[in-house]
Structures are given as C-alpha cells and as structure tokens.
C-alpha cells in the first residue's frame, strides 16, 4: 500500500514533466532554415518598437528596415548616397525639391511604389498624435507642427512618379538625409481608412527593398527570416538567398555562436573578447572607424565652468587626457582617438582642422591653463563624469577621470547612474550636477548631422546648452550653401570654433569591430557599422 503511493507520486511527477516537456518541444522543431543553401545568418536584436520605419531609431530594428525597404537613396560602404527607388532628386534653391521615382516598382505584396506611397508615409510619420519616434525628421517640411496635428502641405504629388517637397528653410543636405529609414515609402495596405499606419503593419511589415520577410518569418525574441526579393531592381544586388537575423540578448552569446559556427556574421565583438578576438578569428575580423562620436559634456552651468575660466578649464581637461593610451589599454584599439567633431566615415571628415591640438595629450600645457583659471577663481570641489552604468562605460570614465586627476591634481571620478532612462532624464531636465558622457551615432552620413543637433543654440541634443552666435550663423550658412562641398566649408569653420569653446570634450570614434565565419565571403561594413548584407556570399 505504502509502496504504491510512492510509485504514484513518482509516476505523477514523471508524467507531469513529460507532458510539459513534450508539449513545449513540439512547437519548436519546424525551423531548419539556418544552414539552408545560401542563407546568411547574422546577429541582431528584437526591435524595440513595431517595424514602422518612422518609429524605429535603434539599430536592432533599423537593420531589418534597411534590408527590407528601398528608400529614395541608399548609402554605399563609404556613406555616399546612391539613388535607389528614385530616378532623380533635383533642386535649384535647396528649398523646393522635385523627386522623380523609377517607374514600375512594386512592394512585395504587389502595391505600386508611387508618389503616394512616399507622401502618405511621410504624412503619417509627421502627424503629431501618431507620436512616431522620428517625427522630428520632418520638421523642416512646410506644414509640420510639433505640438498638434497638422497637414504636411509641403508635400505635393505631381503625378504617379513625381512629387515635390517644399522646405521651410533652405537645406543643402536634405538629399543626404533621404536614405534614412524615416523616409521609406509604405504600401497602400499599411494605412487604415484615416490614413494612419496600422499597428498590425508594424507586426507584419511589407517593403520594397532587396529582401522581404519570409512567411511567418518573424519569431519574436528569436529571429527574423528574410528572403531575396526578386522584384527589387535597385543597386543593392543581393548575392545570397536570404538573411536569418538572429536576436541576441547578450553579445557574449552571439560571439560564442560565431566561434561555434552557428552564426556567419557578427557586427560587434563583446568587450570581454577584445583581447583575443584576432587570435580566435584568424583573418576573419574587421576593425575600422564607424560613424559614432563619443565625448563628454561639461555644461556651462557647473561651478567654475562658465566664461573665460570655464574655457581655460575645459581646454586643460581635454589636454590632460591621454586618448591613445586609453583606446589602446581599455578598448584594445577598438576606438580611434577623435581629431574632429564627426567621424572618418562621414562626408566632410577632416583631420587637419585648425585648433584640434586641444585633443592631444599635453600635461604641461594643461597644468599651465589650469593655473591660469585658478588665478581667475580658485578651483574647489570635485570633478565628476556621469554615465549610465547599464552601458559598459565605467572603464573609460574611470580612466579619463584618472588622467585628469593625475595631471591636474584635482579630485576627479566617474559618477554612475544606474539606468539609461534615469541618466537621460537628469540630462534632459538639466538636474545633473556633473559633467556627463555624450555621444552621437550618425543617422545619415552628413557632417551637419554631427553638428546641428548637438551644438546649435537650443537644438534637440544640445544638452550642455551651448550657445555661440558665430557657430549658429556658420551652421545656417552651411545649410543654405549651394552644394555639399560649399556647405562643408562653412561647417569646418564652425568646427574650428568648437575646438576653442569645447562644448563637449571629444574622446574617440567607436570602431565597427566585426567577425565572420569560414562559410561566408565578401563581408564589408557599411558607414553605420552594419554589414552590407546584400554583398555577402556563402561559400
């Protein structure tokens, strides 16, 4: 009797677990796509928002959108814009742009790629009550209103393949932006009766680009499967059968998969592997500067950092940082010391800007300048660099503070904030009482994108409240200039002033450090550190 009861318990336990185990696994095994002929497996992460182009501003969703949509332009490996869905983009005054589309293009569901598919998508993106994360991209188009719903009257459909964009003010680099995902077109099926893009579209997106999402291809949190879109006629000719973008929560797992042969291309190497990735990968690694500029900002409102005193102190602090040593020791050369305010992959990058001596390591001069500042008003208190502790910034923040401490003999340290949201809020509401980490990842490969949002008076990411009328004027002139080169000349003049004022202390550019497996070839990293998937071939 007793014995049978034990037996019963054991059997019940076993049966219960068997049920759960088998129940779970039955749903699983249907996908064997990973090694299917010609499918490339690459790393990614689950998009943070639904896949609506104007609502995605992070790389996880961005790389999917770039693969499945064809905008007016795409960017080649060097960041040059190349016409994609557009046949021409023309203007005479940098204010009114006439855009002609290539005829006969289709979305993968058969809807035509016409003027309406662009105009309607942009109207949805700019509409205030839709709250798209990238709505501000449309603020220079006539009719945009950032506080209430309004009609983008600056968009005019001329015929099926021609439309006209009227800007509020001249903007010479507007075409350069048009390759950014916010400006992608959307098919008719994406819109509801009121002309708004539906949430359902965000879960089942349809594009017109080199790849299309396979049927049931998006397994949330796990991967998204994409196949070559045979109908795509643009310049990004796909050299493989498709992509399997695997979502990873930790970079370490992705790296292990790369070494274990389950992943073909990994576009980032985890910090922990910096020391040995070259050894692990043989010659299958890439390390090149990318469009990420990193710095820290010392707001003027901090004590001792305003006026002439502040200028001297900023310069002294910048001179006391040994950037090459930190990028070598802490980042194993996966960062490149900064010499301008953009990045080497940006159209307009210049390493010979006047005044960029200030980013060289010069402790003697730093001490002198600091002493001069002390003569104006003696230093008191301590110097801290704020950062978010959830983003792997501690090592460099400590190293930079150490350099400052050792050179200037002041109390300097890093100041961690636990969460990114918390960190951003204290910066946005100006309650942060220390210097803080700042950085910029280019949205499009234009110099203005690295300057205007950050250093123009009142600009959206000007978190240090920097304001210099001279810089403002030069940036305006650059925008109104007749072409990109003329614009860059003005921007360079503005950069030279920035080196004097140091609204932020430039640190380094983040490199794209990537690795690939033995089964793929032709891996090139684009200007935005994402591999050019369409070029990759399977052996």
């Amino acid at each position: 009797m007793k014995r049978s009861r034990i037996g019963l318990g054991v059997i019940a336990l076993a049966a219960a677990s068997a049920l759960v185990l088998s129940g779970c696994s039955s749903s699983g095994d249907d996908t064997k796509g990973g090694d299917a002929a010609g499918i490339i497996t690459v790393n990614g992460s689950e998009p943070e928002k639904g896949l609506i182009p104007s609502d995605i501003n992070e790389v996880g969703g961005g790389r999917i959108l770039d693969a499945m949509f064809s905008g007016l332009y795409y960017y080649d490996a060097k960041g040059n814009p190349v016409l994609d869905a557009a046949e021409s983009v023309e203007t005479t005054d940098s204010t009114v742009y006439t855009i002609k589309l290539k005829p006969g293009q289709k979305f993968t569901n058969g809807d035509p790629v016409d003027s309406d598919s662009f105009v309607n998508a942009w109207k949805d993106a700019a509409k205030f009550s839709n709250g798209r994360l990238n709505s501000s991209w449309f603020e220079n188009i006539v009719g945009f209103d950032g506080e209430k719903d309004s009609d983008l009257t600056g968009l005019k459909v001329i015929d099926e393949t021609t439309f006209e964009v009227t800007l509020k003010s001249a903007q010479s680099d507007f075409p350069l932006q048009l390759g950014y995902s916010s400006f992608y077109p959307l098919p008719k099926s994406a819109f509801d009766a009121d002309g708004n893009v539906t949430d359902d579209f965000g879960q089942n997106p349809i594009g017109n680009g080199p790849y299309k999402v396979a049927d049931d291809g998006w397994t949330h949190k796990v991967k998204i499967e994409m196949l070559k879109n045979e109908d795509y006629k643009g310049g990004r000719e796909v050299q493989n059968a498709g992509l399997s973008i695997i979502f990873y929560d930790s970079l370490d797992a992705a790296y292990a998969d790369l070494l274990g042969g389950n992943l073909d291309v990994l576009d980032m190497i985890p910090d922990a592997a910096y020391a040995k990735y070259k050894e692990d990968l043989g010659d299958r690694w890439i390390n090149q500067p990318a469009a990420v500029f990193q710095s820290f900002t010392i707001p003027e409102r901090l004590e001792h950092f305003s006026g002439e005193e502040g200028q001297l102190r900023r310069e002294a602090i910048s001179l006391s940082i040994n950037r090459p040593q930190i990028t070598d020791k802490i980042f194993s050369d996966t960062r490149t010391p900064a010499v301008d305010w953009s990045s080497p992959v940006i159209n307009g990058y210049d390493e010979k800007l006047p005044g960029n001596d200030v980013v060289k390591y010069d402790p003697e001069r730093a001490k002198e300048l600091w002493a001069q500042a002390d003569a104006i008003s003696p230093w008191s208190g301590k110097f801290q660099i704020g950062y978010n502790a959830d983003g792997g910034h501690q090592a460099w923040a400590d190293a930079v503070s150490n350099d400052i401490k050792n050179t200037l003999g002041i109390d300097a340290s890093g100041a961690p904030n636990p969460l990114f949201g918390d960190f951003r809020q204290s910066i946005t509401d100006r309650s942060i009482t220390t210097a803080f980490r700042s950085g910029w990842q280019g949205d499009y490969p234009g110099l203005s994108n690295f300057l205007l949002p950050l250093y123009k008076t009142g600009a959206s990411a000007n978190d240090g409240d920097y304001s210099n009328p001279e810089v403002d004027a030069l940036l305006e002139e650059g925008l109104a200039a007749p072409g990109i080169d003329a614009a860059n000349e003005k921007f360079h003049a503005a950069e030279a002033i920035l080196f004097k004022d140091l609204p932020a202390i430039p640190l380094w550019y983040q490199n794209a450090v990537s690795g690939y497996s033995e089964s793929v070839d032709n891996v090139t990293i684009g200007w935005n550190s994402v591999p050019l998937y369409y070029e990759i071939t399977k052996k």
């Binding site: 677990s17 709250g131 949330h220």
Partner: protein
C-alpha cells in the same frame, strides 16, 4: 485534504492583489522616463514625449494605471509592449521555454543530489563521501556564469557536443546544456541535505528495528531510509524551482534562451510596466502552486503529515 487544497487556492487571490500592487508601485517609482530612454541620446520635444506617454498610459497617476491594468486582466488584456505585441503573447511564448528549462534542470539536480547524497550518507567519512563533499563545495562557490562559460567553451565550441546557444524554437536538445549548467550549480545544497538526513535516519530506532526484523538492506534503504530523508530535499527543490524561474537570467543570456529571465530583464530596463507586472504575477502563481504541490507530496512521503 480537499478543504485544505481549496483554502490554499483561495489564498492566491489576496497574494496576487498584493504582489501586483507592490510590483506596479515599484516599477512606477523607478527613476527615469522610459519613453525618454526610447529616444537614445536624442531628446524629443516635450509635446511629443507627452503624446507618447499618453498612448502607454504612463502620464496617468500610479493608482489609475494600476486599476486600468487590473481592469484589463479581467478582459484578458494585459496591455501591449513598446514593440506593439500583446503581453499575453509574450507570456505564452517565453514561459513554456523557461518552465521546460527549469524542469530539466530540476530533474538533473534531483538525480545528482539524491544519488550522490544517498551514497555519501551511507558511506559517511569514506573516500566517496569526502570527494563528493569537496566537489559540492566547489560547485556551490563557483558563480553560475563561470560554470556556464566553461561548459559552453569546452562542451560546445571546442568539442562540439552541443549547439553553442539555443536555436530557434528552443528544441529540447539545445536546452540540455543550459539545464546541466543550472542543475549542476544547484545540486550541492540538495545533496548535502539528502546526505545529512540519510545519516540522521540511519540512526533512527525504526531503521534499527527494521534490521532487527531481518529485512534486507535492499528494502530498508529505499523504502525506510531514502523515503524518510527526502522531505528537506523536496522542500529545497521547490524553492529552487522558484529561483530558476527568475534566477536563470544569467544562464538564459549566455545561451540566448528566449525565456522569462531575459524578457523580464529587458522589460525592467525599458520600464514596460505591464510586461514586468504580468511576468511577476505569473511567477508568483507558479511559486504558489509549486509550493502547494510540494505540500501535497509531503503527505505521500510521510503519512504522519496530514492536513485536516
């Protein structure tokens, strides 16, 4: 017995209300604006920020958000994540994977703990006992991520016995390695409990009586000794199951398991109130029912334990 079970199930209601309220409150009080964080290093205009907050009910006072959430529960609507998925879908996708992983780990843990613990207890002070105690001590003190990385490096990258990470659909063979890591990291405590309790039971009068009656060792050890020694082990295992539901986060991240730990961690970082609360609620439910199940199992193992 039936009344006891009913009573235990009814207990769940106030516990759930209390926990959801507390969790909601804690997530709500987390510093920083989650919508602001979605914009990265960029800062949107105040109007846009308020508009998006409104869409996710984040502009409302805590108590209103909480009751909106509670109201949603009764209609089966747990809200949506920032990425536009139903929280119910996310729950349905992630929990089976983690429960499967946890059960596999528990089975491995129990097998290891009971066999090693029993043998150790029977051979107290002998070589096997000493060696197993030392190994157990090592396993207890080495952090789980170390075990995970070592196992991943050698067993899959180097020797290729397993897939490095869990593949699409989390097939059972991919979960074996993470389950072994979890099981191994947990077994030591249960093993020591089993061992201690076997030694204790061996000295009990009823065991001596059994020997005196002339019963064979093969009958005494499993029926009289082991059965009476399992209660502390079972209790510990129940707690472990709860720990595994959440505590597997590190292991889930290393093996890229699309499970609860990973999802919850990300939701907390993003400040997705509804996801966090729903996950915690389901975890509380599982915890309560596992405990109930274990309490019932006691009665099977030890007839003296009866509930009126």
């Amino acid at each position: 017995m039936l009344r006891y079970i009913l009573f235990r199930i009814l207990q769940v209601i106030p516990v759930l209300l209390g926990t959801t309220f507390l969790i909601y409150f804690m997530v709500f009080s987390m510093p920083g604006d989650p919508i602001l964080a979605l914009f990265g290093d960029k800062t949107p205009s105040q109007a846009v920020l308020e508009e998006i907050s409104r869409q996710y009910n984040l502009d409302k006072p805590f108590i209103v958000q909480y009751f909106l959430y509670l109201g949603g529960i009764f209609t089966g609507d747990l809200g949506i994540t920032f990425s536009g998925q139903q929280v119910t879908d996310v729950l349905a996708r992630t929990f089976p994977v983690t429960i499967q992983l946890a059960l596999m780990a528990i089975v491995i843990e129990l097998v290891l703990a009971v066999t090693i613990g029993l043998i150790s207890g029977l051979r107290k002070g002998k070589l096997f006992d000493n060696v197993s105690l030392i190994i157990g001590l090592v396993m207890m003190s080495v952090p789980i991520f170390v075990i995970a990385f070592i196992a991943q490096y050698f067993l899959s990258i180097k020797w290729g016995f397993f897939r490095t990470t869990v593949g699409p659909g989390a097939p059972i063979q991919d979960l074996i390695l993470p389950a072994i890591v979890l099981g191994v990291s947990l077994y030591a405590t249960s093993m020591r409990l089993t061992r201690a309790s076997v030694i204790d039971t061996l000295n009990q009068d009823f065991v001596r009586t059994a020997y005196a009656k002339g019963l064979s060792r093969n009958r005494i050890i499993p029926v009289h000794v082991l059965r009476n020694s399992l209660i502390p082990t079972i209790t510990n295992t129940a707690t472990n199951f709860g720990v595994l539901m959440v505590g597997a986060t590190v292991t889930e991240a290393i093996f890229n398991v699309p499970g609860v730990g990973n999802t919850l961690f990300k939701a907390i970082r993003l400040g997705e109130n509804s996801t966090v609360v729903s996950f915690v609620t389901v975890m509380v439910l599982i915890y309560l029912f596992v405990n109930l199940f274990i309490d019932l199992l006691y009665a099977v193992l030890d007839p003296r334990i009866r509930y009126a």
